[in-house]
Symmetry: C2
Subunit: 170 residues, 2 copies
């Protein structure tokens, strides 16, 4: 199955000149959704992974079923102020200004191997912030998994030394 056929391209969203890759058409197609999860699970089934981390909010969509499939716990990385217990924060740069992500301080045990999951690898800023958060609370990064990778934005360069897997490339 060519999963890129299930992803809709929307020109000029969120602003002029950007082609937005819309996964909602993939999600609403039961076969495409199943195939996406099968490909992720197949790639990681023989790896030692203790925890899956999903980045708010589209990382939650793919992270939870992968955690269930691999028999791991699922951990949330969220925007500021959403997690109720003690958190660790990480700022990261956007095109204009900065943003911040948080993880619960007790989310991960020291030395646990953690797979980061998000829908999209663009410039890599969000994913690198997520890796830093996991390391700050004692985890080891097993890899970073994405449904879509925008190759021309070279997000991999920001994630040098990390193991990266993406299903669909643009």
């Amino acid at each position: 199955m060519d999963l890129s056929q299930a992803i809709r391209s929307i020109p000029d969203f969120p602003k002029k000149g950007i082609i937005f890759r819309d996964i909602t058409t993939l999600l609403k197609d039961p076969e495409a959704l199943k195939e996406t999860m099968n490909r992720l699970a197949l790639h990681y089934k023989d790896e030692k992974i203790d925890r899956i981390v999903g980045i708010e909010s589209r990382g939650f969509i793919f992270g939870t079923p992968l955690a269930l499939e691999l028999g791991c716990g699922f951990i949330l990385i969220r925007k500021p102020g959403k997690l109720p217990a003690e958190v660790v924060s990480q700022e990261y740069e956007l095109e204009y200004g900065t943003d911040k992500l948080e993880i619960h301080k007790d989310a991960i045990e020291t030395g646990e191997r953690v797979l980061i999951v998000d829908d999209l690898l663009a410039t890599g800023g969000t994913a690198e912030a997520a890796c830093s958060l996991v390391e700050k609370v004692g985890g080891e990064i097993a890899g970073c998994a994405f449904v879509i990778e925008l190759d021309f934005l070279e997000g991999r360069k920001k994630l040098t030394g990390r193991d990266i897997f993406s299903i669909v490339h643009y």
Copy 2:
């Protein structure tokens, strides 16, 4: 398995006097996560359900694996400005002021039976807005599923006539 044991209670979050029911401890426990999904799937396995709708963002966590388990497509209801194609909106009341949710206009075919999924039923305002959105785009509500229900807030009253299922009650 008593799933309430896997949910952490945090006093005074997000403000004084509120006991926040924290599902992150349930999510990071692989057995509790699996049991949660099994109970949801068991409840709906003999129902005719065409689509699962998850409400941003914690509804995404439980909605996607349930869609996979039941062989349905998964649909997103999101906060304003996040969905890239043509949307339908629904305002709803908060304790102070209003908020808004959106769904893609083409998310659901007329007459499809839709199950709404979220982590928590509190006052019912969000869930009722989600039901209205699904009906506005032509769907029929098969039911509303929650991991946690705060019985004392009487959210069921706002959802009169809807089929409601919750796993853990407070």
